[in-house]
């Protein structure tokens, strides 16, 4: 379970001095069991968990960065290595529910490498699905133009 504290509330809860609380929170951060938000003119809020907090950087993070239609993650997606917009489109189609597909449409605006997208689509046997989703996107919103050779 995640619980939120400021430095003062953490110190009070565990009956620590301010300095000891800061040391404890710093240790928890190093162990990956605490994250911090805020700082500067904002009060720091520490989120403390009983177990290590998993940092995601996969499909849902990318979609929620680029799409105005935000998604609640169905699972934690962690990538070790490179993860591109093209791979995210394929993952979005693979997940396949309507909300995910609607959000995935916005990723076509940021495609840089159409060849990579269609190579991945071929490998995952979803060329038709990619084409259809793109055509729907093209009808509904302003997006990048797909090279004609991939539309056939």
């Amino acid at each position: 379970m995640n619980q939120k504290y400021t430095l003062e509330t953490y110190a009070k809860q565990f009956n620590l001095s301010r300095a000891s609380a800061l040391n404890k929170l710093s240790k928890l951060k190093k162990q990956g069991r605490a994250t911090v938000s805020g700082g500067g003119y904002q009060k720091r809020i520490y989120t403390v968990s009983d177990k290590k907090i998993v940092k995601t950087n996969g499909f849902y993070d990318l979609v929620n960065k680029y799409s105005p239609e935000k998604l609640v993650p169905k699972f934690e997606h962690v990538i070790h290595g490179r993860y591109t917009i093209e791979e995210a489109i394929i993952d979005g189609i693979e997940i396949g529910d309507i909300r995910t597909l609607e959000a995935t449409k916005h990723l076509f605006r940021n495609v840089n490498n159409w060849k990579r997208l269609f190579d991945l689509a071929k490998r995952n046997r979803m060329v038709k699905k990619v084409r259809n989703l793109y055509q729907e996107t093209y009808r509904e919103m302003k997006t990048k133009k797909m090279p004609k050779r991939y539309l056939k």
């Binding site: 177990k51 290590k52 998993v54 996969g58 699972f75 962690v78």
Partner: protein
């Protein structure tokens, strides 16, 4: 023993030696590490969709120097004789337990229904490890019942306020046809966990029978 970072680095390395993109389910200590329940594990337990996928993975770890080892001394006789037993590969003190489709008869669902986490390692090829909910980790730990498996179950229960024991019991009964001792193993585990779980759940286990 292998820690979280070493495990991630190892999977990254393996993904560079794969012949094609692979997807498998991580269970046991590996799943616990990915879910943040512990920081080290003795063995890496993976379940593959079919023999072909497992062979590709074996080829990759073989080229990294891992060699097959007997199951004796790790699993008991009834598990060694079971069709759903793993093959074991080891190198120094790291060990892979590689299952196909089921774990001693406990069939895993490879659809996206039960996923709580996906770990993707992109090297030359992509290695995707899927992590199942904690309830499945607990149930599978009681099925494999190796030394330290019970300790791991206690660790999960201590860290998680909510464990869906109904789901665990239902799943054990659903899998009973594939292996009759799944329910017996669960019963044994639940009796050992008496102080952590409500009596009603243990009662339910007997009522269902």
């Amino acid at each position: 023993m292998i820690n979280v970072n070493e495990q991630e680095e190892l999977f990254k390395l393996i993904s560079n030696f794969l012949e094609k993109d692979l997807s498998c389910i991580a269970i046991g200590g590996t799943a616990m590490m990915f879910s943040g329940y512990k920081t080290t594990t003795k063995d890496i337990d993976l379940v593959f969709k079919n023999n072909e996928d497992r062979d590709i993975f074996v080829k990759a770890i073989y080229s990294l120097g891992y060699r097959q080892k007997t199951l004796k001394g790790i699993y008991d006789k009834k598990r060694i004789e079971h069709q759903g037993k793993p093959i074991m590969y080891t190198r120094v003190d790291e060990r892979f337990d590689l299952f196909v489709e089921n774990i001693f008869g406990f069939k895993l669902d490879f659809s996206d229904k039960n996923i709580v986490q996906k770990q993707v390692f992109s090297g030359k090829k992509k290695l995707t490890l899927v992590v199942l909910p904690k309830e499945y980790i607990i149930l599978l730990k009681s099925v494999t019942s190796r030394p330290k498996d019970f300790e791991d179950i206690v660790t999960i229960i201590n860290l998680e306020k909510k464990v869906d024991w109904d789901l665990i019991i239902n799943e054990a009964f659903r899998q009973e046809n594939n292996n009759s001792w799944i329910v017996l193993d669960l019963e044994e585990t639940m009796l050992k966990l008496k102080k952590f779980i409500s009596k009603d759940y243990i009662k339910r286990l007997y009522e269902k029978r």
